[in-house]
């Protein structure tokens, strides 16, 4: 078991962490597109604003302000929302994935969209994803990944669903003809 982020967790947050269970929001929605020209994955992640508030309380480092969103969003995403995860170090307990670049956030009613992309240009689209985002808030969270690149014929690929029981899945980005 590893410990993280408790220093900034307020009473309210831990309270909510234990109790948001009966009438669940409990999902995020992610739109992901591989841009072969730029060699980057562009990501729009929709969260409930209460979830964002919880994450912010729990993971935002002390002293960061709104102008330095990158300071806490990117480290969080790089630890909890991993593309092509690989084990780090000898203990193999720490995972790392592709580095991200933060683009911004936009409120959408009761939800908020986070926009970010892979930071380094590469030739190949990622092949897998692993997450543990919000599982420490509640184990029933569902993360739905919708790949926007179309299959031949124009259909959208089937969405990938990540749960605590199945937090890692393969990603298949259709290749443009």
């Amino acid at each position: 078991m590893m410990v993280h982020g408790f220093s900034t967790a307020s009473t309210v947050c831990t309270y909510l962490a234990a109790l948001l269970l009966m009438h669940p929001v409990h999902e995020t929605v992610c739109e992901m597109e591989w841009d072969p020209q730029r060699g980057r994955v562009e990501i729009a992640l929709r969260l409930d604003r209460l979830d964002e508030q919880w994450i912010e309380h729990r993971y935002r480092t002390a002293g960061a302000d709104k102008e330095t969103e990158q300071d806490w969003h990117v480290p969080l995403l790089e630890k909890q929302f991993l593309l092509d995860p690989v084990s780090e170090g000898d203990s193999k307990k720490q995972l790392s994935g592709r580095p991200y670049r933060w683009i911004g956030r936009k409120e959408d009613g009761a939800h908020v969209w986070w926009f970010f992309e892979t930071a380094k240009q590469t030739d190949e689209a990622p092949k897998s994803i692993q997450t543990r985002l919000l599982f420490d808030r509640h184990s029933d969270y569902t993360h739905r990944i919708q790949i926007l690149n179309k299959l031949p014929g124009g259909a959208a690929p089937k969405a990938v669903v990540l749960t605590e029981q199945r937090p890692k899945q393969a990603l298949t980005f259709p290749v443009a003809p």
């Binding site: 078991m1 590893m2 993280h4 307020s10 309210v12 309270y15 909510l16 234990a18 109790l19 948001l20 269970l21 009966m22 009438h23 669940p24 929001v25 409990h26 999902e27 929605v29 739109e31 597109e33 562009e42 990501i43 729009a44 929709r46 409930d48 604003r49 209460l50 964002e52 508030q53 307990k93 720490q94 995972l95 683009i103 911004g104 936009k106 009613g109 009761a110 939800h111 926009f115 992309e117 543990r132 599982f135 420490d136 184990s139 029933d140 569902t142 739905r144 919708q146 926007l148 179309k150 124009g154 959208a156 089937k158 969405a159 669903v161 749960t163 605590e164 029981q165 199945r166 937090p167």
Partner: protein, 832 residues
């Protein structure tokens, strides 16, 4: 959107008819209609999977390119109507339901966080059946270490790490000494009754079979340890405040409750696994709650001994609150704060009476502030009241009680008047859970008293939702343990309506069709009509999808007037009764006079999604057969034709016939016109005209455009086609074709749009009202829809002045367009 056929708008759409051919409109239009059978075949593989046997209407039909009939009636799936439940969806003349009345004495032990109770139950057998035993729910047994709930929980992912809170919860669950201690089960005279505990159920064997229209009494003495609601998932429990060493208790599912016995299911003895909530018999309750004297207690029902437990000042304030137009503090924040440190070592007993409720819950704490406000419901005054600690301020005194009153008002208009005397919201360890007249709601502000917008609307929404549950399922008594959607879905739908009546632009989480799109197109789903414990993606399945479906039914399919009448009829028919899904489905059809079987089939019994595409558009025009018109049209087409590259380059090329004049003949002379109309052709045409009636001749003179728009059902779920048609004169109009357009072929259809104007653009579902999951195929001509990411990034690149200028430009454009189309939008009715 498929990439073919969009260049054909300019196709000459009619066969070249000779005047002798006697053109008829139908003939002309049929003769060039292209077949798309090849396309259909490619979609057969993704057709809706039949649920029934080969004999049913749902069986695959190999003799049609669309093998399923999405409009087949659902009667084979629904119970045969009878005297208990009739075909209209209403209770029948022989409808019956059981009844259970309770008298309970309970002690809340604040030292050991324990409940000690004695429940006397009067059970009335109003069924036509003789019963030899009675099943009782022991929901606290869910917290036993050997409970099915724990044993059937699947493993979480423990790698690479797990949070402390999650680990604490797992360990607390293992060590908690939960579950009922049943001390005795006796009859009214104290004689022991044989009983058998099976998980969360207990069967009490009756000494004599219980005949119809008779009753029996039994008494159960029991106790259990209250779960810590902060560490273990629960629908009730306690919260401990380290700073002042106080607890807030939210106590529910706390006494042995007689299981329901129904005409449609017999005994409801499904085990309690935590998710599927409950259904119980309606009855009257008298509950005496003994708690430390300094605690404030609130509960389902009316407090009947206020002079014994409330101070004179509190009673005076409560009386004043009945006619107040703002919440009045009965127990002030200062009094609650002072009360936190009081320890009298004495107890008080609070007595509550509740009539015609299906359950009973209560809350108690030294920390409670209490505010109240009378709200008019019909000719009665209902007391809307909230109980919360100082930690919940200033958020709760501002919004909780107001949200209760708002809920009673809005829900009352869409269903029936709230029939109880009180409606209560309590802040404590449970985020959101409902019981008759009382509910538990969790949101609180930050430690410094500030709160975010998300917390504010989180509180208002959860109060609306939980108070709303009084209507569904506390009064319209559906079976939550079997069908979560029947209360959560209907309630979330009304919650959405109530939220939108709270303030303009209220940030509702669920209800808007576009909010459900991501779930609908994704995997890992089961139909809405799935048992509560087998549901995947609980929130979307049981809350979001049914709420959205009802919203679409209201706004797009039935219209508000028809829908509201039918929905209200359902609520009133089943008020204080037990509806099943088919009663809801049948009532909605019966009261609206609209066949909705296709809608229930698609939205409630299936997992397909909405994705309708514009595949192709073709233009047809009337060919009058006039040879002069034909020649002129051909001449114009020839003139309009752009020269080929070779023709352009060959301009000025010296040709042989230019320097060898002898090569020229009649066909090279100016007199020769290959498009010349012969007099014989004119005579023939005139003869044709002479044979027509004046109406037929007028028809031939029309310049009307006949557009055939091909639609493809990519997602599989049949829905109305909502189309905005843009014309060359910059006007537009909305058209809506009912879902029945798909009744002969649910994969693809063509629709004829007849107009004297030229269509320049088509747009499917522009107001996002059908939950269409893919906007990229909603446009003709095809329109590139940028991703949300790219839109955001582009927007970010602009500076504030650029954005302002762009907004201004866009506003001008929209205003201009609105002025032109507003009349059309208002007056145009659905085409079918």
């Amino acid at each position: 959107m498929c990439g073919f056929g969009f260049g054909r708008l300019e196709l000459p759409a009619f066969s070249c008819l000779t005047p002798a051919a006697k053109p008829r409109l139908a003939v002309i239009l049929n003769c060039t209609r292209p077949l798309l059978a090849a396309i259909c075949v490619s979609f057969c593989s993704c057709c809706w999977m039949p649920l029934a046997t080969a004999q049913s209407p749902e069986a695959p039909n190999r003799k049609h390119q669309d093998p399923s009939d999405k409009f087949a009636q659902l009667d084979p799936w629904w119970p045969t109507p009878g005297d208990q439940r009739i075909a209209s969806g209403a209770p029948g003349p022989a409808y019956w339901q059981q009844r259970a009345d309770y008298e309970i004495d309970v002690t809340l032990d604040d030292q050991t966080q324990r409940i000690i109770g004695s429940a006397r139950i009067d059970y009335h057998n109003q069924s036509p059946h003789t019963l030899s035993y009675v099943w009782v729910q022991l929901d606290q047994n869910r917290f036993r270490s050997d409970a099915d709930d724990a044993l059937t929980e699947t493993a979480p992912s423990l790698q690479p790490r797990i949070s402390f809170s999650h680990m604490k919860s797992i360990l607390a669950r293992r060590s908690f000494d939960g579950g009922y201690r049943i001390k005795s089960v006796t009859d009214a005279q104290g004689k022991p009754l044989p009983h058998k505990i099976a998980g969360t159920m207990m069967r009490i064997d009756l000494p004599e079979p219980l005949a119809p229209e008779t009753g029996t009494q039994f008494v159960i003495d029991y106790s259990y340890n209250i779960v810590n609601g902060k560490t273990i998932r629960a629908r009730s429990g306690y919260e401990f405040f380290e700073e002042d060493k106080n607890h807030i208790y939210e106590i529910a599912q706390w006494f042995p409750r007689v299981a329901s016995y129904t005409d449609f299911g017999g005994w409801q003895n499904k085990p309690f696994l935590g998710r599927g909530e409950f259904t119980l018999e309606l009855g009257d309750y008298r509950v005496r709650i003994t708690a430390p004297s300094e605690m404030v207690v609130t509960a389902t029902g009316t407090l009947t001994n206020s002079e014994e437990v409330l101070t004179p000042q509190w009673r005076e304030r409560l009386e004043r609150a009945k006619t107040a137009d703002k919440p009045v503090f009965v127990v002030t924040p200062e009094e609650a704060k002072a009360n936190e440190s009081v320890r009298t070592e004495t107890t008080k007993t609070w007595t509550f009476d509740a009539k015609n409720v299906r359950d009973f819950a209560f809350a108690a704490s030294r920390k409670f502030i209490w505010d109240a406000m009378g709200t008019e419901v019909g000719s009665d005054t209902v007391m809307a009241m909230s109980f919360y600690p100082n930690e919940a301020e200033p958020l709760w005194s501002k919004y909780s009680t107001e949200a209760i009153a708002h809920t009673l008002d809005v829900y009352g208009r869409y269903s029936f008047e709230y029939p109880y005397e009180v409606a209560i919201s309590v802040n404590g360890p449970v985020y959101g859970m409902e019981y008759p007249m009382i509910c538990f709601n969790g949101p609180r502000p930050e430690d410094d008293g500030t709160y975010s917008k998300a917390t504010k609307y989180g509180l208002i929404s959860v109060v609306i939702h939980e108070v709303g549950h009084n209507f569904f399922p506390m009064i319209v008594n559906s079976d939550e343990r079997q069908w979560t959607w029947m209360d959560e879905g209907l309630n979330t739908f009304l919650q959405y309506l109530a939220e939108q009546e709270w303030e303009e632009g209220y940030p509702s989480r669920r209800g808007d069709p576009e909010k459900i799109v991501a779930y609908m197109r994704g995997g890992n789903q089961r139909p809405i009509m799935t048992g509560s414990e087998e549901i995947l993606q609980f929130g979307n399945n049981a809350y979001g999808k049914p709420a959205t479906a009802l919203n679409i039914l209201r706004e797009t399919i039935l219209g508000r007037e028809l829908f509201d009448f039918a929905f209200r009829e359902y609520a009133r028919r089943w008020k204080f009764k037990r509806p099943t899904p088919s009663d809801f489905f049948r009532t909605m059809e019966d009261a609206s006079a609209i066949d909705l079987d296709w809608f229930w089939r698609g939205w409630f019994y299936g997992t397909e999604h909405v994705d309708i595409a514009i595949d192709d558009v073709e233009l047809y025009q009337i060919d009058s057969g006039d040879p002069d018109e034909k020649a002129e049209r051909e001449r114009q087409e020839k003139d309009r034709r752009e020269p080929t590259l070779s023709e352009t380059r060959n301009e000025g090329l010296k040709r042989r016939i230019d320097w060898q004049p002898g090569l020229k003949d009649f066909y090279n002379s100016p007199e020769y016109d290959e498009l010349k109309v012969e007099e014989e052709d004119r005579k023939s045409f005139q003869k044709f005209l002479d044979g027509l009636t004046s109406d037929e001749r007028a028809l031939l003179r029309r310049t009307t455009n006949f557009y055939v728009v091909d639609f493809r059902n990519v997602g599989g779920l049949v829905m109305p086609i909502v189309l905005r048609v843009h014309y060359a004169d910059s006007t537009s109009e909305m058209m809506q074709f009912p879902a029945q357009i798909w009744r002969h072929n649910s994969k693809q259809v063509g629709k004829l749009i007849v107009t004297d104007k030229e269509i320049v653009r088509l747009e499917l579902d522009p107001r996002r009202q059908t939950a269409d999951t893919d906007e990229s195929n909603n446009h003709w001509p095809e329109k590139l829809v940028p991703s949300r990411f790219k839109l955001f990034k582009d927007e970010k690149k602009k500076n504030a002045m650029q954005k302002a200028a762009q907004d201004e430009k866009q506003a001008d454009k929209e205003n201009g367009a609105e002025e032109k189309k507003s009349d059309d939008d208002d007056k145009v009715e659905p085409v079918e």
